[in-house]
Amino acid sequence: MAKKVLLEKAHIKGIRAYDVYKAQGGYASVEKALKMDPAAIVEEVKKSGLRGRGGAGFPTGMKWSFLAKPEGVPRYLVCNADESEPGTFKDRYLMEFLPHLLIEGLIVSSFALGSNSTYIYIRGEYAWIVNILEQAIEEAKQHGYLGKNILNTGFDCEIYVQRGAGAYICGEETALIESLEGKRGNPRIKPPFPAIKGLWDCPTVVNNVETIAAVVPIINMGGEEYAKIGVGRSTGTKLLSACGNINKPGVYEIDMTISVEEFIFSDEYCGGIPNGKRLKACIPGGSSVPILPANLLLKTAKGETRYMNYESLSDGGFATGSMMGSGGFIVLDEDQCIVRHTMSLARFYRHESCGQCSPCREGTGWMEKILTKIENGKGQSSDIDLLWDIQRKIEGNTICPLGDAAAWPVAAAIRHFRDEFEWHVNNPSLCLTENYGLAHYADELSIVS
């Protein structure tokens, strides 16, 4: 049984309420951290090896140490709860069931960073979670963990919940800051980075919900101890939200030592594919990371077992690997059409492009149109090459990573499933009624050494 440090107590009855949470050892990290030097907390987080859980996987301790600390200028911590990457719903679970874990992590992190006003920016659609969080904040305040002079340390801190209003792009940290300032969610042009010039032009750290929650066990057990969980640079535990064609969709906490095969097929996790179907493909880290066919998903191109951690999932680069991303694990069974699925993702990115820079604004719509054409049996074989060229010209050339996020799924679909695209093009009427199916996508690969 894998070690759990975040969701360990999620199933305890009434854990959402302060009293139960506290009785289970809650807020111990606040008691401990507020007696520490803020710099020592940052040090513990560095030692833990914790990497940002929002998708990019940047070392959190390092991000914290970049925060500028000019005299007389407020600093802000902003919690990114704008969870919108298709396939990802782990933060929602955490906030819904363990709101106090997030608040606890925020108090410790705010103290470490010197933030007296901390904001949780939550996606607008999670309206009911706003109430859950505000309730938790109120309870924490009543018990002296928030407000003025917390635990007589002289540290003041308020946490506010800000609701978004429907925009995937606000998950990008500078777009989130713009939105929090009451503006359109247009990502800023970097540099300057938020650590220097963020919310209201003050130094700001933006961290994902799960990242902040992980600070609690790190303080409780110590950074070194936390780093012992997991493997290599994939330390600690990771929340995965599994969905698509599996028997047990849901949120799972793993310690990054289990194999992809175990995650999909064991009863402890996804419980296999429903209706006796076979695995065709999977997007292991949220819709923007490369999709992999079954044969490359379960084993790397070198024929080694693929594990659920940062390094193993990206083994082989984009040619034969993928990414851990945000942990949105989307499984496709043999009945699913890759072209149609890619089209749906292209539609998503077109819909969510902010429209600020030209490659993303124009390119995402163009890709969606071509994919729709191919899906409807009206494509030509030159369209596949054109798609490839468009995604190539978007990737890396945009203001923010949304351009890459839109380009990668299209690129990976063509890279690994080109013959399914060609089948659509060559069988215009057949592709409207029939499915290309599993084809050879689960066949054993010859090992490239």
Binding site: S353, C354, G355, S358, R361, E362, G365, K393
Partner: protein
Amino acid sequence: MAEEVKKIKVTIDNITIDVPMGTTILQAARMIGGDVVPPAMCYYSKLQGSGGKCRTCLVEVSKGSEADPRPMPKLVASCRTGVMDGMEVKNMTSPRVEDARNGVVEFLLLNHPLDCPICDQAGECHLQDLGYEHGKEGTRYEFKRRTFDKHDLGPYIQLHMTRCILCYRCVYTADQLTDKRVHGVLSRGDHSEIATHIEKSLDNNFIGNVIDVCPVGALTDKTFRFKNRVWFTKPMSAHRDCKCCSGKVTLWQRGEDVLRVTARKDQWGEVEEWICNECRFEKKNTADWIIEGPTQVNRHSVISQGHYEHVLKPTETFSAVHGGRKPKLLMDIHSVSEVNDPSVDLSLINGSATGEVFNHPTKTQE
């Protein structure tokens, strides 16, 4: 005493220059001048916060700095990236830049109506120049181009949203020159548009400057609408004593008529000094102005075609030159060419006038 600004070295396309700390790559390239200057569609040195959006000025940083020589992994927007000491940049010498820029041009033109023949901006349009220099012939886009509901911005400014490239310059202009902005970028993604949401006219006394900053034909001068092609008009520098602005303008004349007034622009196409609406829209008589002389126009510009600066217009008529003799017909073209057969009425030809049209009547009769 002013502190001396530290000078640092930057190399662009193998040309090294010393620039003050805080200079951007684009500014440094402009100091060098010539072909190393990346094109810029959204950046505007006089508008704070502008730039970074159009991606035409992407360049490759092949060496980050002397201290950290690693190349930057991605192409960067030269208008918003500061130079570091010892930085090496590739613009026209980088195939990656050429490829990316080619893509950006294609993206910018993707939904553009290409209605240059009826666009008042034609001839001074930065998108035309960009397409000419960095684009490819033809388009790979085969879908219906985007359209928008039309919005009326009042008596002075004509908006053609289909031509807009969303550079945001007009938004920054209204923010930085006027006290109350009434237009902005509405909606999101490929539906983003410049609009006022509820019909409103733009009437601040300095709002006319949005016409000058617009790189394309999205915002044009309504008082000049369909009056003439810019290359038929003659730009003349002029000034007047104005209470609101510098009064330094360019008059665009046809004969003695002032068809249009704009701010004066520098070699990068940027306004030198902002002008007020009165100067721009209300003063259309030469008597309103003190004319300084012809405006220098880049000789590669279509506007300079047909303008022969410092060349006197001949005063003699044809018959005066010929000592009163009438011109004599030396050869009737129709006797040697079928193409100009006077019996063919060109306006009646259905489709394009090919050789077939002209060959047909005579050849079949034979």
